[in-house]
């Protein structure tokens, strides 16, 4: 109920949130459409190749004889799933590390933060390329998601830790501690609800980041390019020199859709950030200093 009220406020007062919601909504709708796709996902040459957008083929067809529209629904579903899975996994790690480090302090905090700093500083892309290098075709999507999640928690763990440190000094924490609650219970029951809003907004950014990684790796051919994904579509388009051959729709639509997703998620993230900070929320709603 409180969540609904928050959503209502956000939509009513925050143009960015509304815009973001619409964009993301459109993308998710596309992804859901994939379940009614009339073509099997892996097949090629099922329709006439290189047909420009028309009533028969909304987004045209590719040089491989696939319908761009339906292929895109599958692609965006796979890409989105990947992004969400990575975001969820890395949130879990970030939460664990951040909350524990912030609450416990001392040497646990220092050790965790050293590990954290290592991950912040290490350039991720060469490491991912490295993994691909050794695993080649053994690199399934699940594996890739796991590895990406393992590399994507560092930045946000710091944020959570900062929050946890401030929460530690609050009254209710001491109360819970002195009434005998275990660390686990304190973290989960008392601190987690405070931390969740931040986690939520960082999730949006994290989804963007992981999808960015997927698109980049796929475009370079470093993933399993048989499963349709947005990056994979661009990869195949490049293989067939689509732009030079004039088949612009093969590239334009996936890029447009993925940009919509990115911008949409981004808008959601910043509007939620603004909402969380009470001063800006009030300023937005027309009150306060």
């Amino acid at each position: 109920m409180q969540v609904l009220a928050i959503l209502r406020d956000l939509v009513r007062y925050n143009l960015e949130f509304a815009a973001g919601l619409i964009l993301v909504g459109l993308v998710v709708a596309m992804a859901l459409l994939s379940f009614v796709s009339p073509y099997p996902p892996l097949d090629v040459y099922v329709v006439a190749p290189d047909v420009p957008p028309s009533w028969d083929y909304f987004f045209g067809t590719t040089s491989r004889g696939q319908d761009v529209f339906w292929q895109l629904t599958l692609a965006i579903r796979n890409t989105l799933t990947f992004g969400i899975v990575v975001a969820v996994l890395s949130r879990l790690i970030a939460l664990m590390v951040g909350l524990v480090a912030g609450y416990k302090g001392g040497w646990i905090d220092r050790v965790l933060m050293s590990i954290n700093d290592t991950f912040v500083v290490i350039p991720l892309f060469p490491i991912l390329v490295l993994f691909y290098f050794i695993m080649r075709d053994a690199m399934s999507w699940a594996m890739l998601a796991l590895i990406t999640a393992a590399l994507g928690w560092a930045y946000d763990a710091r944020l959570i830790r900062a929050m946890a440190m401030s929460l530690r000094t609050r009254e209710f924490t001491n109360q819970a501690y002195f009434s005998g609650a275990s660390t686990g219970r304190i973290l989960v029951q008392e601190h987690l609800p405070f931390v969740l809003p931040i986690v939520f907004s960082t999730t949006m950014n994290n989804i963007n980041w992981s999808i960015g990684i997927e698109v980049t790796l796929s475009v370079l051919g470093f993933t399993d390019i048989n499963t349709p994904t947005v990056g994979g579509m661009i990869y195949w388009a490049n293989q067939h020199t689509a732009l030079v051959a004039g088949v612009w729709w093969w590239i334009a639509f996936p890029v447009a859709l993925v940009v919509m997703l990115f911008v949409g998620l981004f808008l959601l993230a910043i509007s939620m950030n603004e909402y969380i900070d009470p001063r800006s929320r009030l300023a937005r709603m027309g009150g306060g200093a």
Partner: protein, 334 residues
Amino acid sequence: MKPFLAYLAKRLLQFAVVVFIGVNITYVITHATPIDPVEQSVTAATSFGVTSPEAVEMMRASLRELYGLEGSPVEQYLSFWRRVVVGDFGPSLSAFPTPVSTLIWRAMPWTVGLLLASTLMTWIIGNLIGGLAGYYRRNRLLKLAGIVSMGVHPIPYYIVAFVLLIVFGFVWPVLPISGGASMNVNREDSFGFALDVLLHSILPSLSLMAVGIGGWFMGMRALVSNIVTEDYVTYAELAGVGRRRILRSYVMRNALGPQVTGLALQLGAIFNGAIITEQVFGYPGLGSLLISGVHAGDYSLVLGITSVSIIAVSAAVLVIDLLFPLIDPRVEVR
């Protein structure tokens, strides 16, 4: 001075630890590869032209000896570290016997140049526009700049680079889209060469900048809008201090601090962007070298480049961390 020295020592230790862990991880990963460099060379040599199965066997044996791939894993690990400490990553296995460090040093200036130039420009321009936007809240031009930069910011580097390639290479071909410099440019003629290099770096820098500006813009604008409500700024305004002076000395200078820290944290991500951009534009830097090393199965090279990237980024972060207390006197060194 004393607390600074202690801080320095702590940060140096941290630097060493991070590099050590990072390079170790990379070493483990590369040596977990089942790729056999001898097989690569043999196949490369026998793909065309006459060959016989017996000849291939002989070649395999002699190459194994030549590449020196003996020794237990522990011995290999120790000799690896012994060499790395003096900056020697061994010979490249796809350009034998040229040392990996030679290849890296050749590509390094291109990447460093690109990164340095574009990162500085992005940071300066982003913060400048962001600061102005945070102060002059009603200026429409600034609002537009904000929307554009924030719109481009979430798009992955690859797509932005790709779009720029299409626009300036295909639709309106006025900029070079490939390579670091033109063919047969006389490198002795330093002005001509410099100009040519500059030309070739425009598109790659532009794509890095397009993505980066939005981030700094937003951060700076938020910081500035907070500072603007601070008491001392209001006081200065009331006291009749010129707007420009307030903006420069009171507002921006205080906002810069967190942005410098932000720069340190972003360096890893910016490096990623540079690698991808290099691929798109065929820029002869570390990124292109890394990708070609992966395709050739040359794990010496891949190991070398990744290690160098880790060291470089960590060092840059260290430098920024050390300079930070000098910029912002409010920071206490603990």
